[in-house]
Amino acid sequence: MQRIGVFVCHCGTNIAATVDVKTVAETLGHEPGVVISQDYQYMCSESGQNLVKNAIKEHNLTGVVVCSCSPRMHENTFRKAAAAAGLNPYLVEIANIREQCSWIHKDIATATEKAVILGKAAVAKVHLNAPLTAGESPVAKRALVIGGGIAGIQTALDIAEAGFDVDIVEKNPTIGGKMAQIDKTFPTLDCAACILTPKMVEASQNEHITIHSFSEVTDVKGFVGNFTVTIKKKARYVDETKCTGCGLCTEKCPMKKVPNEFNMGLDNRSAIYIPFAQAVPKVATIDPNYCMMMKTGKCGACSKVCSVGAIDYKQQDKFIEQKYGAIVVATGFNPINLDKYDEFAYNQCPDVVTSLELERLMNAAGPNGGTLLRPSDKTHPHKIVFVQCVGSRCDDSKGKPYCSKICCMYTAKHAMLIREKYPDTEVYVFYIDVRTPGKNFDEFYRRAVEQYNVHYIKGMVGKVTPRSDGKIDVQASDLLANEQLHIDADMVVLAAAIEPDKTARPLATMLTTQMDTNDFFTEAHPKLRPVESATAGIFLSGACQGPKDIPETVAQASAAAAKAIGLLVKNSITCNPCVAHSDELMCNGCSSCEKVCPYGAITYIDKEFRMPDRTTALRRVASVNPAVCQGCGACTVACPSGAMDLNGFSNSQIMAEVDAICK
């Protein structure tokens, strides 16, 4: 006979304000098998746990039901308490009467009734619980970092520093990401390339780091400690191992009219190209959409001038498979597309640019060699208008509901740099709010206003109209002075909102991690686990998790590295004993379970069986590798014969719960 203890938690007023906990404890006390039913203010506290432990010993309990918060919160706490009192931890069941009951109901009678029902279901389930023992599985001592921007580079460097091998997968021909395109950094105004490129070189030279540039993750299998990842190395038509990065091919290439992505399309590059001087790896890549040889079969100039014979027009995509213990996602961000913003004339006037384009226009390696010139007529702009929050903090469907966070600071930086270098230029900034929390940030912004005399005007730009004389009419409102303004600007700079990279969503599907409605990866806990995803072994680094500036990105990158290292140092991790198993006498060997298993945990064996008619027969049956199974339960649903069952969540346990609820 079962001897079950029920423990109902008040959670302060979290539960007790909406659920009559005394009634719940009293009612559940009459359930079959229940020998003790108590309530307590904080069951998770030390004294609350002692209550459970003492009851287990005193009443010789065979099962425990805790009616409290979500099992995600404290299941482990109570399992440990049970184990300490000598009860198998898997004989503890949690009835979630907080998140699924008290927090969502207002009426005490309804909430109490529901709490009782949830409690009864847990009691019905615990009747059928069996003691389980957790196994262990080894950890592959290698990490994968997806994305080679500053976040990915920093994470990789930190993991390598701890002595673990780490691979960076970058979809572009070079690592460096957005930071490589930025001119100066706030709030110190040091050159982005000067602080980034040493890190890029360090990453390429580190013996523990392998960089897969121009590559993509195409498949992820496995689970924490044991991921198997397929990486597609896209054909760059240049042998990476031979190319010395001399750049002769890029000079001789006759096709020089390809928009240069690195300079935001503001100038052109050749069909065979190295994105920028400090690219890592410094290897040329052929763009097959423009290469004459690839398109028409006539040319071959690069192949002729290449002294090491690195050019290979017939190169194919290559797939490599590698095992990893931990995966860090660092897929970064992009400015949003401004096609929908006709009012700012972005698509009509070349002198209306985004902030990232302005970075390139001001950069010494940019299209104008560092002199700020209007893209249209290459003249010096004398009046520049900055528009903040283009697509950020939007409540319509065109933009993003969130604050992109970095725009206020980089705009102050741009305004300051322009006023410093070209004092004859007037700079206007239209803002909704100026948001500058951060060390030395507000001081920086005030310097732009007070020392550099940048005109900050609270108000939004309503319309930008290019005029025939080359000027741009900016119509805006000054909310503080309560007047309409018309500014005849030479250039307009739009602080476009930032959004997660488009590759993030398919990647999230592959990794079975969660994203929010804006496609930012969701952290396991917004406050307490900010760099871990809800999927074990997957960590988040940089702007893929939310808008971030460089200091924050680097800090989070190192935090993600620390979490990954914490996993990689372990030789093995405790497995979840709630794994599937197959009843071989019922198994048909039909392969349904194998097909749905996302972890590849199921294999088939031919096994000899004694049949009812005393013959022996060789039968194909499913066999689950408990070290690989993650207990998702997909196989138990797919199995047509009901042979698959899940420890801790068996079909009969689930049915008992349903019966208890429906009774």
């Binding site: 398919p506 599907t509 006498l585 019922m586 048909n588 039909c590 797919a638 047509p640 009901g642 042979a643």
Partner: protein
């Protein structure tokens, strides 16, 4: 046809290609043509039958037969080959142990439809220019051939053999059938009308298990309805809930695996149109996950145990059920 088949079987037995033949022989009445295994030329000569009443699908028998010593010859009609292929896909049969001779399919006759015309004491039939001449103990009767064919043949989906070692006669094509017409009609009913329709049908069930026993997709080592641990073992249809759920559960079990061979409705002694449940699943799968014919091949991923990024959202499936 029967003679060609007997000759083929004798030849394959004689040259040692096979050591047994699964075919059909006559039961108590002329229209009771029942699957049977033959081991010698003599048995074939005296008992092997293949006529217009020979509609039974022998694929399911091969699950057990293919595990015996030696190779067995099976004559499969086009619809039967889909069932056999699906069994290969599910690893329920050993392909090498079966020698398949594809034979042309129906339409086959439904003795019930002949009896419904008041014709009894059937001794044999002859199809003369699509007029059925029925020899009975009371003399000869006639009726139009197409009024006597099985429902499953009237909505035949394919004349193509999807698996075989050799063919007798020509192979046919996949047909444009009207097999979802009735399902559509049911879908357009109100929930109450639909419920009433199914209650009327399912209340006739005597739970004889014939539908399950004949179904080539029902090959579980231990059927849930025979398993004492399942809690639903061998229950009589004591109430309407039991009557309904048995068939709905069975349809769920074969969803995505049912090739629509129609045997369930053919063998039902109460004439319940069970195939409509299966066809509803097939139709839904087609519309939600793209056209899929179970048994068409042995390698493709079945939509219900495959996931891809184009799959419809669960909410869409859910919304369809809302009236």
């Amino acid at each position: 046809m029967q003679e060609a088949m007997i000759n083929k079987a004798k030849q394959l037995l004689a040259d040692g290609t096979v050591n047994r033949v699964i075919g059909w022989k006559r039961g108590e009445f002329a229209y009771d043509i029942t699957p049977a295994v033959f081991e010698s030329a003599e048995e074939l000569d005296s008992e092997f039958v293949y006529d217009d009443f020979t509609s039974a699908n022998v694929s399911k028998y091969l699950v057990k037969e293919c595990k015996k010593e030696g190779r067995i010859l099976a004559f499969l009609k086009p619809c039967d080959t889909y069932s056999f292929n699906q069994l290969i896909k599910e690893h329920r049969v050993v392909r090498e142990n079966v020698y398949i001779v594809g034979i042309p399919g129906g339409p086959k006759l439904d003795a019930e439809k002949i009896k419904a015309k008041g014709i009894t004491g059937i001794l044999g039939v002859k199809n003369e220019n699509y007029t059925l001449k029925i020899d009975t103990v009371y003399g000869e009767e006639t009726m139009p051939f197409y009024e006597a064919i099985l429902d499953k043949c009237a909505s035949c989906k394919s004349k193509k053999h999807v698996v075989y070692d050799e063919l007798i006669g020509e192979d046919g094509d996949v047909l444009d059938s009207n097999r979802f017409d009735m399902v559509e009609k049911l879908e357009n009913m109100s929930a109450q009308e639909r419920y009433d329709f199914w209650r009327e049908q399912l209340s006739k069930c005597i739970r004889c298990n014939a539908c399950r026993n004949v179904c080539p997709a029902c090959t579980c080592e231990k059927c849930v309805f025979d398993n004492p641990n399942s809690g639903v073992e061998n229950k009589a249809p004591a109430d309407s809930f039991e009557e309904n759920m048995f068939h709905i559960i069975r349809a769920f079990h074969v969803a995505g695996r049912c090739t629509d061979c129609g045997e369930c409705s053919r063998v039902c002694p109460q004439n319940i149109p069970l195939h409509l449940l299966n066809r509803k699943f097939i139709k839904d799968i087609n519309s939600l996950y793209g056209e899929y014919q179970a048994g068409e091949d042995t390698t493709s991923r079945a939509p219900l145990n495959d996931y891809n990024k184009d799959d419809c959202e669960a909410s869409i499936v859910h919304e369809r059920g809302v009236e």
